[in-house]
Amino acid sequence: MTQKIVFNIMQVLVVMAFAPLIKGVLDRLKELVQSKKGPSIFQPYRDIWKLFHKDEAVSEESSWVFRFTPYMVFVAPIFVTLLIPVLTDYPLFFAFMGDMLAGGSILALGGFFATLAAIDTGNPYGPMGASRTRMVGFLAEPVFMIVFFTVSFVAGSTIPYIVQQAWITPIANFFEPSHVLVMLAFLMLIIAENGRIPVDNPSGHFELAMIDESKGLEYSGRGAALMKWGGCMKFFVLLCIFLNVLVCPWGLASTGSFRDLLLAIPLILLKMLILVFILVIIESSLSKLRLFRISEFMGAAFVTSVVAVVIQLIEM
């Protein structure tokens, strides 16, 4: 019992510790693919450290939402971490507190506050980016829902741990058409939610074209550090859900021993590395979509997920 609580807390600590690392690896790899040298993979840690030691400048026109949001954005992924399988494949202490829909809505809560805060300061670029983020968000919601329905329908439950056991443990199920299509749809969703190419350019500094970066535009000092860290953790959490529930649940600790848990950490990092590599290839080969073509992109994701659920329902 206490062991489960300890493991749960260890999961949270792992997420907090390694999220910036994944972000750093992603940035470095992208630069390497483009034949540039790129920043060190530990650069996000240094950035967060530096930002924590700087002063904050907060607009006088902003309200409590602006000050509250960084904490919200930081804490939301942590709550979701309590619910999903990160290191173990059996349910931990807080696992039944909420299911995948709850996880999705907690992440959406963080995004909601970020959007409000962007409008709060009165900066013209904030609301522009916020409205675009909401557009991508609401186009992505149906895909989320249908992906969750598909996986829950097979497993008979919406708790991620149970889904993971039922969905993929017979290896032959990996090649099920609905599984492959759900994987594809969710990958498109990750790209959209985290603002990667082809939906948004994460390394662009041009405020008129920003979608996801605009939420952190106005923050400085501790607020900026928390927003940055929270963004990294959200990325990490989505990748965890993708890998551990849908794609590749092997390598998670199945027994209660501490040694297995420690062994699971480099394995999950390895899986993430491979996925990050795939994402980098996608990023480097495509170009950013024009704004109104994003609805076509999300439409394609939606149709993929609908076909997955139809195939699943009809072939039962």
């Binding site: 090649f175 058409p177 609905s178 492959v180 299509l181 439409g299 394609a300 149709v303 139809v310 009809i314």
Partner: protein, 218 residues
């Protein structure tokens, strides 16, 4: 094996969606190549299951004619169109077309249900609905596109869908029939390609949707 075939079927229907939803002509052509390869893959899997050599031959013919010959032919006959008019004009927007295509997939499942009830193997319940869906969506793509090459790709998608259903329904169809059918698809591509060339020479554009002068009203 069943899952591999189902995977080929699922990716097949994805490429059919892609042909409806793709904006670029060269992209549609590439998707058609992938689609033909998936069809050949399904034929191979079925040939292995039913130990029928001539399904392997069918797969070979498909790869040769549909994945190499026809795209090469179209690319060379119509290279001007492919490079000059990159994007495809459509009657409906792409998301609407994708939704209608998803609806057609559901329709095709309901259409083949009485057939499947007579006794269906696992292969049949994947190949037959997806083949008929390919047929319907290909027909839809023809009505909704206004350019020559995408309409031709719609016809070829319909034939691919019919073949996908066919390799599962009729694994023992005499080889001559399959050969001739593959040959027939080649002739279709040739004829339509040459016709498109004449149209472009004479009319100046391959926007065939605009050619609507033969009506009673004028």
């Amino acid at each position: 094996m069943v899952q591999l075939n189902a995977l080929a079927g699922g990716l097949f229907i994805l490429t059919v969606f892609g042909i409806v939803g793709m904006r670029q002509m060269i992209g549609s052509l590439r998707l058609f190549v992938i689609q033909s390869l998936l069809l050949a893959g399904s034929a191979c899997i079925l040939g292995y299951e039913y130990t029928s050599v001539h399904l392997f031959v069918v797969a070979g013919i498909t790869i040769f004619s549909k994945a190499f010959l026809i795209p090469w032919l179209l690319y060379h006959l119509l290279s001007h169109e492919i490079h000059a008019r990159r994007e495809i004009t459509q009657v409906l927007t792409i998301p609407t077309s994708l939704l209608i295509a998803a609806g057609l997939v559901i329709c095709s499942y309901f259409m083949v249900r009485p057939l499947l009830e007579t006794g269906a193997t696992a292969f049949l319940s994947v190949n037959l609905p997806i083949g008929v869906a390919g047929l319907l969506i290909g027909g839809y793509a023809i009505t909704v596109r206004r350019e020559a090459l995408p309409q031709l790709l719609g016809i070829l998608t319909m034939e691919n869908g019919a073949f996908l259903a066919g390799v599962c329904i009729a694994p023992n169809l005499p080889l001559m029939a399959e050969l001739a059918a593959a040959f027939d698809v080649l002739i279709i591509a040739l004829v339509v390609g040459l016709l498109t060339r004449s149209i472009r020479k004479r009319v100046g554009t391959t926007l065939v949707g605009k050619m609507a002068s033969l009506k009673e009203e004028e």
